[in-house]
């Protein structure tokens, strides 16, 4: 019954007060409740103290926990530091002997080796290079992180760097991509910075772009921007006007002419498209609009021996893109977009981390924007110093007279646009012998001097022999359409070499053109005019220079009748007068042997690897004979023959369309020299069975005869004699 409780009262006078109330009943002697004892003790102070004690204890506990955490962290950090140090040391130690191994391997490569040895050696060297690169990356990263990295400050030419990096990338490019470099005219000819690091960053971004892009282009854009908001240096007052102080090239043209800043003058006059585009550039830059109009040219800067220019570099690609959720961790060390990516594309995940560190060390920023399946753009902005007292010895006043000299001598220095088109060389084939996607190895280097716009002289494109793929067709047609603009070919027949590749320069090349042009003539009539004009616009600005040492090589290699991807140049020229023969065969060895036999018989052949490609080939060209393998993937010989016969009977490709092969564009129908009813093409089956029922099946499907495999010279000869 007795109760003891703490009750808190709110009093007006004294605030919150807590009383310990003790109530107990009072009993009479008889046990009746006659009253209560009511006691109240003011324990407000005690309560307060008690609460404070609790709080203090809590705080102490928290403190203790923090301390423990901290200690643990310190411990871990120390360990990490030690580990990093060890890693750096080890890497360094590893690097020396490893580069010894690679050097020795390279030297070994210069000695006489047989084919197998050379292959083994190549693997050795490429593996070694990879490891070396990895080690260098690790070392770089740890150097940057530990703050040991010292930045250089050397004069260099941005255009040359961009061009060089692109050139190197193009030389080892194994995909069909266009590499493009674009340096704005207001970017100074020479700047001061750490060229090695910048080159490293650029190379890394570009190789990433190439790695993750399978078609389209990779481009580098360099242009001047006003000082970005994150920069802490300079006389930043937060006002828009002063933010323009540092970026001297964003000065509008009026200022350029009159300003006392010799640097911007130099730039203004040295750019080939000068004032007009300077204006354009500044308009299009990411600058604040204010800078275009209201700049007070800073007198302060005129006094400075050096000015700082902020140059932004965009590396963009039309690759697989980066999903949004991967963007935040992109620059973290060892992070790749996903485990699948890491597996599929390789790499260590260090590259971007290094780039970011380097860029930030130099006082810049590295950012990325991307869209999945569309492409990505990596952007870094860096400040560069520009020395006013540099090699350009002209004063602003002498510029006008010196301009011509400059134009003559500084072509390379001022060339602002580079494009590297993919170019396939049939003479270099991949080691795993994939005949489909035969790729490229050398690239043509095209220079643009913006004031030297010539029509291009020779536009020699060559393509992989993925016969019948419309993409390649498009390429050819585009090239053709442009070639057409320059050359007029009188050749009546349409002939299309499936892998026109350039082994010889002059004569064959011209023949090629004629082939391609003839195709173009027949096709371009209904081809989109837009695509024509597009390519001609693009190409007009290019001047193609083919590398001189290559033709000799290719000439030699073209003589070997190799894989189906390699067609000797003779095919290109021969197929005009000789009968057109199509070989439909998927087995590479059979192709090689058959082709060689046909060559001995004096014929050159086109090769496709399955029925679908065969139909496409026939859709676009007329053949005098088709050798059709019966067993093939995608579509076998029997069905293919049926489709071809249906076309010959009906004059249309409806049956083929039902099978999923799209019809050719209308103009190609006019390819048939005999116009209306398609000629019946002799189709010879090449069958491994050679049993009687197989022969019946062949003729039931529309084949004229068969050759049993393995194919011999005699069999081919008889067949040709009968059907050609």
């Amino acid at each position: 019954m007795p109760a003891k409780r703490e009750i808190t009262f709110e009093t007006e006078l004294f605030g919150s007060k807590t009383f310990l109330i003790y109530v107990e009943p009072v009993f009479s002697k008889a046990g009746e409740t006659i009253g209560i004892n009511y006691m109240g003790i003011d324990i407000s102070d005690q309560v307060r103290k008690r609460e404070r004690m609790i709080k203090i204890r809590e705080e102490i506990a928290v403190q203790k926990a923090k301390e423990t955490e901290l200690n643990r962290t310190i411990h871990i950090t120390e360990e990490t530091m030690r580990a990093k140090q060890m890693l750096a040391t080890m890497s360094h130690e590893i690097r020396s002997p490893l580069s010894g191994v690679v050097s020795m391997a390279e030297i070994l490569g210069t000695t006489k080796l047989d084919r197998e040895q050379r292959q083994l050696l190549d693997v050795m060297i490429s593996s070694g290079d990879l490891v070396l690169k990895l080690i260098n990356d690790i070392l770089d990263l740890s150097k940057v992180e530990s703050g040991v990295m010292k930045l250089e400050a050397t004069k260099f030419r941005p255009r040359e760097v961009v061009q060089h990096v692109l050139q190197t990338a193009a030389a080892s490019l194994r995909k069909i991509l266009t590499l493009e470099g674009n340096v704005a005219d207001d970017v100074p000819i020479e700047v001061i910075g750490d060229v090695l690091r910048i080159r490293q960053i650029l190379t890394n971004l570009i190789s990433n772009a190439i790695k993750f892009t399978h078609e389209g282009k990779v481009g580098v854009k360099l242009f001047v921007v006003p000082e970005p908001p994150f920069a802490k240096e300079g006389s930043q007052n937060g006002s828009a006007v002063s933010t323009a102080n540092q970026s001297t090239t964003n000065v509008p043209k009026e200022e350029t002419c009159t300003s006392s800043q010799t640097s911007s003058d130099q730039r203004g006059f040295h750019g080939k498209k000068h004032e007009g585009s300077c204006q354009d550039r500044s308009q299009s830059e990411r600058g604040t609009p204010v800078t275009n109009g209201t700049i007070d040219v800073t007198e302060e800067q005129a006094e400075l021996p050096e000015t700082t220019v902020w140059i932004r570099c965009d590396v963009h690609d039309t690759g697989i893109g980066i999903p949004e959720n991967a963007l935040p961790t992109l620059f973290k060390k060892y992070m790749q977009v996903s485990a699948d990516h890491a597996r599929k594309y390789g790499g260590t995940g260090l590259g971007l981390a290094i780039c970011k560190q380097l860029v930030e060390l130099m006082g810049g920023r590295l950012t990325v924007s991307s869209q999945v399946h569309c492409g990505s753009t990596f952007t870094f902005i860096l400040p560069y110093k520009v020395s006013l007292s540099c090699d350009h010895s002209d004063d602003p006043d002498d510029d006008l007279s010196d301009m011509d000299d400059h134009g003559a001598t500084d072509d390379d220095a001022t060339a602002g646009f580079f494009q590297f088109q993919p170019r396939t060389l049939g003479s270099l084939f991949s080691s795993n012998g994939s005949s489909r996607t035969q790729n490229l190895l050398a690239h043509n280097i095209g220079y643009v001097n913006s004031h030297k716009i010539n029509g291009f002289s020779e536009n020699c494109y060559s393509f992989p022999t993925s016969n019948g793929q419309t993409k390649e067709m498009d390429l050819v047609e585009d090239a053709c359409s442009v070639a057409e603009a320059l050359e007029i070919s009188p050749k009546p027949e349409s002939s299309f070499s499936h892998s026109p590749d350039h082994d010889n320069e002059s004569a064959i090349c011209r023949d090629e053109h004629h082939h391609n042009v003839v195709n173009a003539e027949n096709k371009v009539s209904t081809r989109d005019v837009s695509s024509c004009s597009e390519t001609s616009r693009e190409v007009d600005v290019k001047v193609k220079i083919t590398e001189p040492q290559l033709p000799a090589e290719r000439q030699g290699r073209s003589d070997s009748g190799f894989q189906s991807t390699l067609n000797s140049s003779r095919e290109a020229s021969n197929s005009i007068s000789k009968p057109k023969i199509l070989l439909v065969e998927d087995n590479k060895i059979n192709v090689m042997v058959t082709r060689s036999m046909m060559k001995q018989l004096g014929h050159t052949i086109d090769v496709v690897n399955n029925g679908v490609e065969a139909v496409r080939a026939i859709q676009y060209h007329s053949y005098d004979l088709v050798l059709m393998d019966v067993c093939m993937p995608v579509m076998d010989g029997l069905q293919t023959t049926r489709l071809i016969r249906s076309f010959e009977e009906t004059g249309n490709w409806d049956e083929a369309a039902k099978a999923g092969i799209e019809k050719p564009s209308p103009s190609s129908d006019s390819l048939q020299p005999d116009c209306t009813p398609p000629k019946r093409i002799p189709i010879i089956a090449m069958t491994a069975n050679a049993l009687s029922e197989s022969a019946d099946e062949c003729s039931a499907n529309g084949m004229d005869s068969f050759i049993s495999k393995p194919v011999t010279f005699q069999k081919l000869k008889e067949c040709l004699e009968q059907y050609l």
Partner: protein
């Protein structure tokens, strides 16, 4: 003068290839395709064959690891392999391939395994012999 013993040795090796049944007339076809313009044609074809068929062999091996056997697929692989082998005139290999296909058609898993082992042996033997011959 010094070349004669080498040539003779080469001829002997070549003859043994035929006599031992490793290669057949198709090989002669390949040899006839070799000329000044293609001085190493046979070697090149053979190299390509080994490179290309290595893949098929691997596929077959992998397929033989999955039980039950997919005879259809095995037969398809072997058809390809046989085609290549016959094109270069690899007689014993081709014969073994035919056997393998027979086993596939009759669903004889044991037979397939045995035949494949034998085939690989012949394949390797041929490779060694041809390798020596080309050297």
């Amino acid at each position: 003068m010094e070349r004669n013993p080498i040539r003779r040795q080469l001829a002997i090796m070549r003859q043994s290839l035929f006599d031992q049944g490793h290669v057949d007339e198709q090989f002669v076809q390949l040899e006839e395709l070799q000329d000044d313009a293609n001085p190493n044609f046979v070697e090149e074809v053979v190299t390509l064959y080994y490179r290309d068929s290595a893949r098929i062999i691997l596929n077959i091996e992998q397929a033989l690891e999955r039980k039950p056997f997919d005879f259809r697929k095995l037969d398809a692989y072997m058809h390809q392999f046989k085609g290549s082998s016959s094109s270069i005139g690899a007689k014993k290999v081709k014969a073994e391939s035919t056997l393998f296909r027979e086993c596939c058609k009759s669903g004889n898993g044991e037979g397939c395994m045995r035949s494949f082992q034998q085939l690989k042996k012949e394949y390797a033997t041929l490779r060694k012999k041809l390798g020596a011959y080309f050297q």
